[in-house]
């Protein structure tokens, strides 16, 4: 549910959509989400390539809200992700990327040929709050997951100090770092949430390094959404 491509400035040059799908085949992954920083523009190609190999690719993004909280947004289809892309384009703070400082941000085709370079620095923040972002994701029927909540930067706990009870998170992503178990123990309020873990892969070999098991009828968006709500026997094996 959290894979970067070469479009993210910190994403490795080996993270073309075609390489990601190759890795996913090797790791026996049925379903994954492409979540570049503040962009959905590589999702379409990844989805198409995934389909050929029998891998479901969900269209998403890792957003950076005005509080500099990273959140995953995952959509039912590419059209909804496209509408969300317009929301990003309206709200991204425009800073020109300097590739030697932040990394290259390129869109490629299936043969890894560069089609376009994104000039706006995608790790800049949006002008909208975490609450407004959550509302926009849910208005489009998407799944909203605050990312790596136990990380000391760019997480909801590092930026706000707490988890606002009115924020409608469909799940919370925990980084499998050295202290994650202690973090969960120290935050009993987390017991009310679905805690999941993801690879947050920025390089090929990181794909599948941390996964969450979902019990689904088919690897589809709707099924994941049901699993996160414990509906119709669908389940998530939470941390």
């Amino acid at each position: 549910m959290h894979v970067h491509t070469v479009l993210s400035p910190c994403g490795g040059l080996d993270m073309s959509p075609s390489k990601i799908i190759d890795h996913a085949v090797r790791e026996k992954i049925d379903i994954l989400a492409i979540t570049d920083h503040n962009s959905t523009k590589h999702c379409g190609l990844a989805q198409e390539l995934g389909k050929r190999k029998g891998i479901t690719v969900l269209a998403g993004a890792e957003l950076n809200t005005m509080e500099e909280i990273h959140c995953l947004a995952i959509f039912e289809n590419i059209d909804k992700a496209g509408i969300f892309q317009q929301f990003i384009d309206r709200n991204l703070n425009v800073v020109n990327n300097k590739p030697d400082l932040f990394g290259y941000q390129v869109i490629v085709d299936e043969d890894e040929q560069i089609l376009a370079e994104e000039d706006r620095l995608l790790v800049a923040s949006l002008k909208v709050s975490v609450h407004e972002t959550e509302k926009m994701v849910h208005d489009l029927g998407g799944i909203f997951i605050p990312a790596h909540i136990n990380r000391p930067y760019n997480s909801i706990y590092s930026q706000l100090g707490f988890l606002p009870s009115e924020l409608k998170a469909d799940a919370l992503e925990i980084s499998r770092n050295a202290n994650y178990e202690m973090f969960i123990r120290e935050h009993p309020e987390l017991s009310g949430y679905k805690l999941i873990t993801n690879s947050d892969a920025h390089h090929g070999e990181q794909i599948g390094r941390n996964t969450t098991d979902y019990y689904l009828k088919q690897p589809e968006f709707e099924e994941i959404a049901m699993a996160l709500k414990d509906i119709n026997g669908r389940k998530v094996k939470t941390i």
Binding site: N64, E68, V95, A124, P152
Partner: protein, 117 residues
């Protein structure tokens, strides 16, 4: 006013960039939101923050800041130090909190006619 002058006045630690301390400081900016610094900080300014993550160096290099001052005794990651050395961004440190440091720095800059308004 040079970085060295400020280090001496505020008794700061130098975490990296010892060869850059004669560089001029034009002012200062205080913020813990990286995007805010990317939008608002001016070139040649000293950036006061509690962040220690390597991204602070990329932001400082992008904005051509004079130096980064980490407050609250924050210790930067090794990677932060390495990237800062490569990008020629000095990193200073203090165990003090941001408020007293800013107050003293403001007075010094005011006395040197570096504060406007």
């Amino acid at each position: 006013m040079t970085i060295k002058d400020i280090i001496n006045e505020l008794r700061l630690n130098v975490l990296t960039g010892t060869d850059q301390l004669d560089n001029q400081v034009k002012g200062a900016y205080v913020s813990d939101l990286l995007s805010d610094v990317m939008g608002k900080a001016g070139n040649g300014e000293l950036w006061i923050t509690l962040h220690t993550h390597p991204n602070i160096v990329a932001v400082a290099a992008l904005k051509e800041l004079a130096a980064i001052l980490i407050v609250n005794g924050g210790i930067p990651d090794n990677e932060t130090i390495n990237v800062a050395a490569k990008e020629n961004i000095p990193i200073l440190g203090t165990t003090e909190r941001a408020f007293p440091i800013c107050g003293r720095l403001y007075k010094i800059m005011e006395a040197n006619a570096m504060v406007q308004g």
